[in-house]
């Protein structure tokens, strides 16, 4: 039997329909989009069609989409690009304490280069308070970067409200929407963002391709210097098959998102409810309602996440944990700690993210196996009070 995959937030399989769309661009239509003979022109056309599909998914104009190698590059380019292009205006950046490493590590790098970064706190649900953003803005603020949907706990941040504040203060606003794009409807104008990061492999597209939405007029330095590709914003020969795949995935998401989000929300809530009913001393992490349709994150008292993960793996269920026993620092998830969880509870967290191929039967299977696994581990835990 194939293992049950519940880690769609880590990556999704590339949809067969997407693979099919990509294949001709490895072989038959292999041309360099910068070449002006037929092979090149055909590739260029495919590139621009894909751009339109991605733009359409977030309500942007085609020319506002810059393709990248993924979400991490989009985040890096947004932050470093704005910082370097606006140094004369100021050196202050506002972000949150629950960002993906692609944002938080870039902020730390910028701090070493003389930029000042404010890391806003979050409440117990992982929500940033827009008022805190407002208060943090100074004359030196050049960028606000707050993620849209959190990759670990699924909390959806008040992006439109923060966008309004950024607009009034005339400060650039970036959001990392890697977990959100293709899963819930997005309109960049309603959000008031200048920059928005996306990644194809989180919405059934291929790995190694993403995009940064750059609102017209936003000043930032090029991501890569060299040729004229991507309107001189990112040099290098375009990853045509990957971009075509991203376009196909975006089109599919647009078509299926509404129904799929509903289906996943139902399964998500069934899984959450089932766990809370069947197992004592557990805590739902993240917001109960303002949460990504596919995200379940739960802490189990008295047990450690990796040992839950391994036991589930042995039962054919693939999940992820916020216990970073494999990281050199041994520190658990910074997101969970920022939300006020104890180290013990952060180590005992499990993330299950659902997707296109998740079924009701799979959820039932998890609900049958999980209580047994937790009971087994608790029986050997010195933290479990007799």
């Amino acid at each position: 039997m194939k293992p049950i995959y519940l880690d769609y937030a880590a990556t999704t399989p590339t949809h067969p329909e997407v693979v099919k769309a990509m294949l001709p661009y490895f072989t038959e239509v292999f041309g360099n989009p910068s070449s002006i003979y037929s092979y090149g022109l055909e590739a260029k056309e495919a590139l621009e069609q894909a751009r339109a599909k991605v733009a359409n998914l977030i309500g942007a104009r085609d020319e506002e989409i810059v393709f990248t190698s993924g979400g991490t590059e989009a985040d890096n380019s947004a932050l470093k690009g704005v910082a370097l292009a606006n140094e004369s205006k100021g050196n202050h950046i506002i972000t949150s304490s629950i960002e993906h490493h692609a944002v938080s590590e870039t902020c730390k790098f910028l701090e070493k280069r003389g930029f000042q970064v404010t890391y806003l706190p979050v409440d117990e649900y992982g929500l940033v308070n827009p008022e805190d953003v407002k208060k943090a803005i100074t004359v030196k603020t050049i960028l606000i970067s707050i993620m849209y949907g959190n990759n670990e706990v699924g909390t959806i941040e008040p992006i439109a409200e923060i966008g309004q504040i950024a607009k009034e203060a005339k400060v650039y606003f970036h959001t990392d929407a890697v977990q959100t794009v293709g899963h819930i409807p997005i309109a960049v104008d309603e959000l008031g963002v200048n920059l928005l990061s996306m990644s194809a492999h989180k919405l059934y597209g291929p790995k190694g391709v993403g995009a940064l939405y750059v609102r017209k007029g936003t000043r930032l330095v090029p991501f890569l210097h060299g040729g004229d590709q991507e309107k001189k914003r990112r040099a290098t020969t375009e990853n045509v098959p990957g971009i075509v795949g991203f376009g196909a995935a975006a089109e599919m998401a647009q078509r299926e998102m509404g129904q799929e989000a509903q289906r996943l929300t139902h399964l998500r809530d069934r899984l959450i409810k089932g766990i809370l009913e069947r197992i004592e001393d557990v805590r739902l992490n993240g917001h109960p309602k303002r949460r990504l349709p596919n995200n379940v994150n739960i802490s189990f008292n008295f047990v450690e996440g990796e040992s839950i993960l391994l036991n589930l793996d042995l039962e054919g269920i693939c999940v992820s944990t916020g216990s970073a026993c494999t990281s050199a620092s041994l520190e658990p998830s910074a997101v969970l700690l920022a939300m006020g969880l104890s180290h013990e509870l952060a180590h005992g967290s499990l993330r299950m993210t659902l997707g296109k191929w998740t079924t009701e039967e799979e959820i039932n299977q998890v609900l049958e196996v999980l209580p047994r696994v937790i009971a087994k581990l608790r029986a050997m835990s010195p933290l479990m009070k007799k």
Partner: protein, 129 residues
């Protein structure tokens, strides 16, 4: 273990993780070792029973990752029947080797197992005084 399942750990580690030996409380232990803390995510309690300077029984309780559970299980197996002096010579490397090796990032778990054992022996000596 199901066939064709790849894991981070050796077969031996997974075997001890799946079926840990000597788990649980001990009635009137002669020594109790308590090491680790919730910050690093591993807590081990190790109990020993000593007769005529020989460890006749060992049990453990562990909060921690797969390697922490497997090393706890292995170290309790290794000490049984050993004299105190022999037990004190069990190094973290020996525990890791007995498990067919640990990923480098998990070697600290074997250190914890060695410390848990030493802490239990210290406790045994302290109680005897």
């Amino acid at each position: 273990m199901p066939e064709n399942v790849r894991t981070l750990y050796s077969e031996k580690v997974m075997e001890h993780f799946r079926n840990p030996r000597n788990v649980g409380d001990m009635e009137k232990p002669d020594g109790i070792g308590h090491v680790g803390n919730p910050v690093c995510g591993d807590i081990m309690e190790l109990y020993i029973k000593v007769k005529d300077n020989t460890i006749v029984d060992a049990k453990f309780k562990t909060f921690g990752c797969g390697a922490a559970i497997a090393t706890s299980s292995m170290v309790t197996e290794m000490v049984k029947g050993k004299t105190i002096a022999e037990a004190l010579e069990i190094s973290n490397r020996a525990v890791a080797e007995a498990l067919g090796g640990l990923p480098p990032i998990k070697m600290h778990c074997s250190v914890l197992a060695e410390e848990a054992l030493k802490s239990a022996i210290d406790d045994y000596y302290a109680k005897r005084k």
